[in-house]
Symmetry: C2
């Protein structure tokens, strides 16, 4: 296992410095330690003070026992093994698969030329892009063009493709929220641009997006010579879970218009909405509602099958829609997409199912509705319960989740912990999360992994642990928290 | 559809110049024209002098009616819809699925924690990496370490990840064969390195790899100040289909050792081997056979489920193995892989099936064996027949395919065609391929898309058209060729 380091061509000091500089906390030190502990539990059961690793570091619902939607998987299964659709198998398969699943599988197979094993168009299967356009039209009430839609292997590769294309040189700035989802800092670092931070306004209620702060941020960047070209907004927020009001979105659009910025809207949590007073609005709809004056604004919005009630992370499906973007730019995106040939066809199938689920009257509708509603209601209950539990801990303030899959509580850490962290060369909240992992098997991500206002500490936890394990999960975290505070308060 | 260009933030002149400079011929002008013609055939049948588009521009077997392997798809289908594995469905599913497919699906589901909808480890599911290591050990007779293996979304993203990490600055050179698969020039351009071409030696028999040419190439690059760090070899070759002898591979390894180069071995066609006198050897095996003196050489080898007899391009599955690469470099690869979260789980499943197919005695073995053999024999027949057909055309010289899925004939074009191409601002072989597409619906890629020795012209055609359509395919290409020669010879 120990490889001699002498005389190697590949040395870290001789790699792409952008790669060396990338940090990616969601899958960083804590996630690696969690994998080690998982292996230890498997090889030496009973050797740790807990029985399982609970991965709250990443929004990965099916890792934590969320069941996939039956209709979706029936279609996927039929598309994978089309022999099931042969007439001689009809009688048997009719006992296992709903007729609308069979119909959908046939439609999709025809749209992919007969086999899910073939590369598709690099932008994705045309019929599925058409269905995405239909979905967007129905959601927003404004037309959508399939030629302006790219299917992707989840939202992340879409974001990376767009940022890679946009970042002309190392002086190009991309505005990103702080706290942010680390995909953004990682991608901007990989493509050697400048992340221009704007701070979300933390209060007990939420992390608001304030136009004054946007102006401060861009002004400061421009004053130091940065060529700011785009603004990223995550709505609902990640890691912060806030949902933007329509008014706030209008302000953002006007800001982008005035400042000549491309608006990059990460809308992957658009169905993870928990307050009826704060519904989701797409940036596309709000932009169109502002009329012709803003028609020219360039907006690229991202969606994914990994989130929502679907939670199909493993299939790597998603899309982005370009609004107001010139055709020659779309051609550039297409060229970059082509180098990786095509998005995974199984992910594309899941995009189709997500944007065109069973409708009232369809044989699969009642089951589909019941499954989606059950997941939704359970997420909402877990969000509420977990936020209350965090708020009951000493020195923890947790805003309620308005959307997404995360809570992002602020923690006031004892000075002893801050000192200990400094000694260990760690951020205090990273120390907190590492000790939690080692004591409980619960893996969260420290606020420092998302960036945060200096001198404040947080952690991000999904609220995805299964509902029947939530009480013991909460007990275990609370027990750790109290011990940690005690340990470092002396 | 026409979007005003004035006042846009996104303009081609203000994008990442590496993106703007990328060329990607396999999915370039000809592929786009083929898509247009396909749409025209769908919307206005009978409006063109042919009934279908035959995509010979890309190795995409299942697009051209190749049937997937039954065992593979049975497992995939069960993994997608695990309800089929429930005890109450056992009697029904036993009529549709072989017992070893059921067993494998259970094993894989357990290895992924119960659902293919969850993100996996960013390097890929540990058990599948273990199976890849077992496969490599059995193939080569030398140990392989699962921790040095990354599952990827096909070989292309793996190659891109490695090149992105290796290219420290714009002066770093990567040696690539000419003719080359355009993934290499495209990726090197995207990450702003320097492609250092070495020419394969074209003869009537093959495109040989000559050590003298490697030395000339690296010397020339180094003389002009390029910092050459790696050598890419594609074996079996793409677009040229040659298979390297063991002796030639030893020369290449010694060359990399002496010149301090990382060896990047694209071995995705390792089972597409058509001459018993030229079997496939992996670079790993040949390297290990050379003993301790070469132990330190850094080798990264790529494989894919898209090629071979498997042909599962749409699932995006593949892997790369690092040999002699330091752990801290592997950690860098891991970090980059993490930003895209994980390779598609359905692609990972196909990697597992490809490296661990049914064995003699397994219920699915006879069908598996028969299917693989039938595809293999048919590919071999088609390769031979198509090469003979090309050789019978005036001014065409086509070496036989030793491996891969492509023929790469040289064409001597009439001066009239060269003049016409020059007028149209096209390469002569691009003109040839475009006229062929417009006349016959057959889409090939001109040699200029892969680079070639100046003043020579080629086209690359897969030999994947279905066997029962091969005669009419050949007739149609021959008829076009004769008309083309006639048209431009006056």
């Amino acid at each position: 296992m120990t490889i001699q380091r002498t005389d190697k061509v590949l040395q870290v000091s001789k790699l792409n410095p952008n790669v060396v500089n990338v940090e990616y906390a969601v899958r960083g030190e804590l996630a690696i330690r969690a994998e080690q502990l998982k292996e230890q539990l498997a090889s030496t059961p009973g050797s740790l003070p807990f029985k399982t690793i609970t991965n709250c570091n990443i929004g990965n619902p099916q890792q934590l026992e969320q069941k996939p939607i039956t209709f979706f998987r029936q279609v996927a299964s039929l598309v994978d093994y089309p022999d099931l659709l042969k007439p001689e198998n009809a009688q048997i398969t009719s006992q296992l698969f709903k007729p609308d699943a069979v119909d959908r599988a046939r439609t999709l197979l025809a749209a992919m030329g007969g086999s899910s094993g073939a590369y598709s168009h690099s932008k994705g299967i045309p019929l599925i892009r058409k269905h995405v356009a239909d979905f967007i039209e129905e959601r927003d009430g404004y037309p959508a063009n399939p030629e302006h839609i790219f299917l992707t292997a989840g939202a992340s590769p879409g974001v990376q493709l767009v940022l890679q294309t946009l970042i002309q040189n190392s002086n190009v700035g991309i505005m990103i929220p702080i706290p942010q989802y680390p995909l953004y800092t990682a991608s901007i670092a990989l493509f050697n641009g400048k992340a221009v931070p704007y701070y979300l306004d933390e209060s007990a209620e939420t992390f608001g997006l304030d136009i004054v702060e946007l102006k401060r941020s861009i002004q400061e960047a421009r004053n130091s010579g940065v060529d700011v070209r785009a603004l990223c907004v995550i709505n609902p927020g990640n890691p912060t879970g806030q949902v933007l009001t329509e008014e706030s979105m209008k302000d953002i659009i006007r800001f982008c218009h005035e400042e000549k910025l491309v608006l990059l809207a990460d809308e992957v949590y658009q169905t993870n909405i928990y307050l009826s007073t704060l519904p989701f609005h797409s940036f596309k709809k709000v932009l169109k509602s502002l009329g012709p004056a803003y028609e020219g604004l360039e907006l690229i919005s991202f969606n994914s099958v990994s989130k929502g009630m679907v939670g199909e992370c493993g299939r790597r499906g998603g899309y982005f829609e370009c609004t107001g973007v010139s055709d020659d730019i779309i051609d550039m995106f297409y060229k970059v997409a082509s180098v990786s040939l095509c998005p995974p066809v199984q992910g594309q199938v899941m995009v189709d199912l997500t944007v065109r689920p069973p409708k009232k009257g369809d044989p699969s509708y009642p089951e589909y509705r019941a499954e989606i509603d059950a997941i939704y209601e359970s997420l909402k209950r877990r969000a509420t319960k977990l936020a209350a539990a965090f708020n009951s801990l000493e020195g923890v303030i947790c805003p309620p989740a308005q959307g997404a899959m995360y809570l992002f509580p602020r923690i006031v850490l004892p000075q002893g912990a801050i000192d200990a962290a400094q000694k260990a060369g760690k951020q205090p909240d990273a120390l907190y999360c590492m000790e939690m992992l080692n004591a409980t098997g619960v893996c969260m991500v420290p606020g420092s992994g998302f960036c945060q206002r200096e001198g404040t500490w947080h952690f991000r936890s999904t609220f995805l642990p299964p509902e029947n394990q939530l009480d013991s999960f909460i007990d275990s975290v609370a027990h750790f928290h109290n011990s940690f505070v005690k340990k470092y308060s002396n």
